[in-house]
Amino acid sequence: MTAISTAKLYNLTDEDLMEQFQDGTVQAFNILVSRYKDRLHNFLFRYTHNHEDCEDLVQETFLRVHRSRHSYERIAKFSTWMYTIALNLAKSLYKKKQRMQKVSIHEDPEDSESREMHFEDSNILQDEQLHQKLCVKELEKALMDLNEEFREAIVLRDIQELTYEEIAEITGTAMGTVKSRINRGRLQLQEILDDYVILETN
């Protein structure tokens, strides 16, 4: 394959970039990293709830993409292939953490990085902002309390905005199962949030 200019690389699909990378164009890999680094952070943070572990997992995912570039075949969508790698890594870390930690995994006090989360609307009133932050915290906490299979389907659908077909492929389950998990997961999420309200009012 002939060398391709950087400007042209940016216009390529993920799959084309992967092909370029397989042919030795490192820049193609860098573009894939810039396309997916934030999305992977959003995905993997829901498993780690710790910025350091999250970055480590994102790095590990890209590292595996880098190492196994020659095993990637174009029949699969690049993002589906990459999310499968990320999900497997997340699952093993989550299991490891569950085994090792008896304390809450909702917030890691040792996470030195205190990056602020940004809201879309910067003009909202301070009180409202505080309320919104509390709601976000509760929702994130509820997500962590959710059954693992429900959580993975919900995060892939509602946060990563993947299609049901993609989720079925990544999780290795039938589409009907994915839909049922999303439906039941959202209902369970509401129940967990309701429980928080009851706990707080008592």
Binding site: H41, L63, D158
Partner: protein
């Protein structure tokens, strides 16, 4: 043809109600479902609300210098 809602088709309709692509045809199916099984209205509402809430969660970004750290790690380990 009508009125035989399976668990799978109920799931479909409920999820459609929470999706942005909810169209006229979906609205008709949704109404048919509610006529027969009004108890699913609550599930549909919760589904829609939860999707909206989750979609509005703040999006995280990779910390500055991420690419450099990754490149260093690749250099070390690959």
């Amino acid at each position: 043809m009508h009125n035989q809602f399976t668990e799978e088709s109920i799931n479909d309709i409920i999820l459609k109600y929470s999706d942005e692509s909810f169209g006229v045809r979906d609205a008709v199916r949704f109404e048919m479902l509610l006529k027969q099984k009004p108890e699913y209205f609550e599930d549909a509402k919760v589904n829609r609300l939860m999707r909206l809430k989750l979609q509005s969660l703040p999006r995280l970004h990779a910390a500055p210098g991420f690419e450099t750290r990754l490149a260093e790690r690749i250099e070390r380990e690959c």
